[in-house]
Subunit: 187 residues, 2 copies
Amino acid sequence: MARTRSFTTADAVRAARDQFWEHGYEATSLADLERVTGLNRSSIYQAFGSKQQLFALAVESYLAEVAVPRLSALEAPGAGIDQVVEYLESLAAAMAGTPAPLARRGCLIVNTITERAAHDADAHTVGIAYRDRLLRAFAGALPPETAAHRAELLTGSVIAVLVTARLTPAAAATLARAAAIEARTWR
Amino acid sequence: MARTRSFTTADAVRAARDQFWEHGYEATSLADLERVTGLNRSSIYQAFGSKQQLFALAVESYLAEVAVPRLSALEAPGAGIDQVVEYLESLAAAMAGTPAPLARRGCLIVNTITERAAHDADAHTVGIAYRDRLLRAFAGALPPETAAHRAELLTGSVIAVLVTARLTPAAAATLARAAAIEARTWR
DNA sequence: CGAGTTCTGTACCGATCGGTTCAGAACGTA
DNA sequence: TACGTTCTGAACCGATCGGTACAGAACTCG
């Protein structure tokens, strides 16, 4: 009875997410979002309500499609140092192996922390949750005696890798490898 | 012969720097800069030329008055693990000891990396230089055999502390302390 | 005091911001 | 084919952006 939608929300969110990821929230204008999604303003607003809501969906998409998949092996029950090392090495490989313009995007969540967490409650909540999830994943894969202390260091290393990626992906890869080497000595 | 300036550029730059530090470059408007400096737009432009140039001076001021002083003991010839530990502990103390709204500013340079380095050449250069300086300072204070590898990890920890500060200063302090404890085992 | 210079407040500039409105094209259904 | 609905493009909204022009207040010096 009605005209069918000519786009999928998932595709549009992904396109918007990549733009937010690379340029940040403030520096992404509605004109940018129109361009990357291929949609008109009115379609965007009809489908998503506002720039902020689209951003929230972009963050959700990032977590589901980018962050969590890489984390899943580390979060699996029975994960140990091997999984920690693998995680760090996969991070290093991602930094070294993806084209620099892509790697330089770093991490949408980490970027959002520095840009928005201090003054936006949603961004703060998302940032806390992400950091906490990393921390728990590492702690769960480490011997209980040293877990708390070393999980802090590893979580810090991951955050630093993703910040350094914005500067020099190669340096980020070096850092991720250094962390992997350190973790390997904990076997 | 001429009217004397009723403000010092150093004071104005400091005020602007604190605003940029807390809110970032994009989110700081000329109206904000007028407010925090107590100066009119025309005075700001007459004295500094543009928002970008004022930002460059703010970064310079941050390096000279905030970043370098804390780094000096670590960079001194003869510095060793003790100075590394002291640096990390002073960072932890700063995170835990300054009022949360101030600590939550994190680091102007690190914030600038995530906000601007990917698309602004000046920001990229400043970020590279800062990271490199941290790296060299740590490397110079560590035994040559392990220096390269561990300097990477420590530089990463510092960056992560300053990102985490934007989220939760207390968590940033915990991370800095964890790094200090780790470094202490290298004595 | 008065000349010379600098600083300051206001008002304004075009551009762009996020967001809204609405007429009509496009399409599925009957 | 004709109806009902949805999507789309363009034009527009007030607000704010960084930046400028200029007249006059403020002040130092001769």
